[in-house]
Symmetry: C2
Subunit: 247 residues, 2 copies
């Protein structure tokens, strides 16, 4: 019997049409589902892939990592070509490599970076319309930058999570960077892990602070009380992109 | 009766779904048609807009200019908001201003710049898939750059036009610049005017030269003989974007 391999892949996807990363029983529209379907055909095995984490419905990825075990003996180059030939054009595999059998995309991920794109301005973003959240109000960038600093470090982020979680909700945020170029404001968030909807609630809160409907004290309060209702609105999925996963 | 105004607008569009700029009798899918429909509603007049030039089916624009005459007394800001509210999301108006009654978008255009985007690489461009032409072969960039210089200056471009034209086919090209960044090669072409399919045939010829299936002498020959069959293939519409029009 052919030797077992552990294959690590990097994939980019436009999440617009999908119900998120995670395979669902009753839906054909998940990224994991699409990938497993193609890989199972390619290998003649029932392949289950392990992603570095889930992304919500409508969220995109520039650099999502997954791995799977197989006895298929195709070269990694052939695997990549096969996947890109049979996957839909809104899912693209950018890298395929053999890794140690013990490598696990989720458990071994050290840091992740998400980028949230906001379009500010009096006219609509024609080419970026599926990847940016449009804000028509003026945002006070300096206030947002100051508030963002409050996220840095290790905190219990239960107040920035849409679900009650039994496991630890403590996460470490390394960076939150805001950058405006032309009509676009990007918020990039790097941390060792993220709770359900966490980035979108962090960003939504920053936007509310930028609009002046909330103050930066909101963040301290939501962190301290762990109360979701203290934090701001959850920003829409389409502005969010999983930008990088590092090991 | 209200005074007549001449309104100049800048519009961006994703041409993917459209049969091009120019209004057609039997099609609802032209950019000019969509704009005229909205403007006629806005003004209660039968509005005809004049574009700086046509773009083919599937070609995009970041900065197309048009103008129209009206007696509507809305502010330019209100006009812009109205258009952006009622136009589809793949057409966006970025600028609206009152101009001299004699201003004409086409006759007064001095220079236009088109950008052609080529995606080179072993994996597909997920986010840019509607705006780039994918080339999987290696392209010899230096050869393409040398060949591109042959387009500079005033030439008869009949050999780079898909239609027989009765009027003059002499055009002046100011710049052709090739720039590779990461997986993307952009070719930007500036000139005083362009014939039907001219940029796409110029780019297609450069791609063939990059692949090595044609040499740069092809360009000289097609210019000298004015014979379309000497030039290379016409590159696909989706990689082309009207980038700027200057007056």
């Amino acid at each position: 019997m052919a030797v077992e391999r552990n294959i690590k892949c990097v994939v980019a996807y436009d999440g617009t049409k999908y119900q998120g990363w995670q395979r669902l029983k009753n839906s054909d529209h998940t990224i994991q589902g699409k990938i497993e379907h193609v890989l199972s055909k390619m290998t003649n095995e029932k392949i289950e892939v392990m992603g570095s984490g889930r992304t919500d419905a409508g969220v995109h990825a520039r650099w999502q990592v997954f791995n799977f075990h197989t006895r298929c003996q195709k070269s990694t180059k052939n695997m990549m070509d096969y996947m890109n030939q049979y996957l839909p054009e809104d899912i693209g595999v950018c890298q395929v490599e053999d890794v140690d059998l013990r490598f696990h995309s989720r458990f071994h991920a050290k840091k992740k970076t998400y980028i949230y794109r906001i379009w500010i301005g009096e006219y609509p973003p024609v080419f970026e319309r599926k990847y940016v959240h449009v804000v028509t109000e003026t945002l006070h960038l300096q206030k947002m930058k100051e508030a963002a600093l409050l996220f840095i470090g290790e905190h219990d982020f239960q107040g920035f999570c849409s679900r009650k979680v039994k496991k630890s909700t403590v996460r470490k945020i390394n960076h939150v960077q805001l950058k405006q170029e032309g009509h676009e404001l990007t918020i990039s968030v790097t941390g060792n892990g993220f709770l359900y909807n966490m980035v979108r609630i962090m960003v939504g809160t920053l936007i509310d602070i930028g609009k002046g409907t909330l103050t930066k004290e909101t963040i301290t309060e939501a962190l301290d009380t762990k109360d979701r209702s203290k934090a701001g609105e959850r920003a829409p999925a389409k502005g969010l992109i999983l930008h990088d996963v590092s090991y």
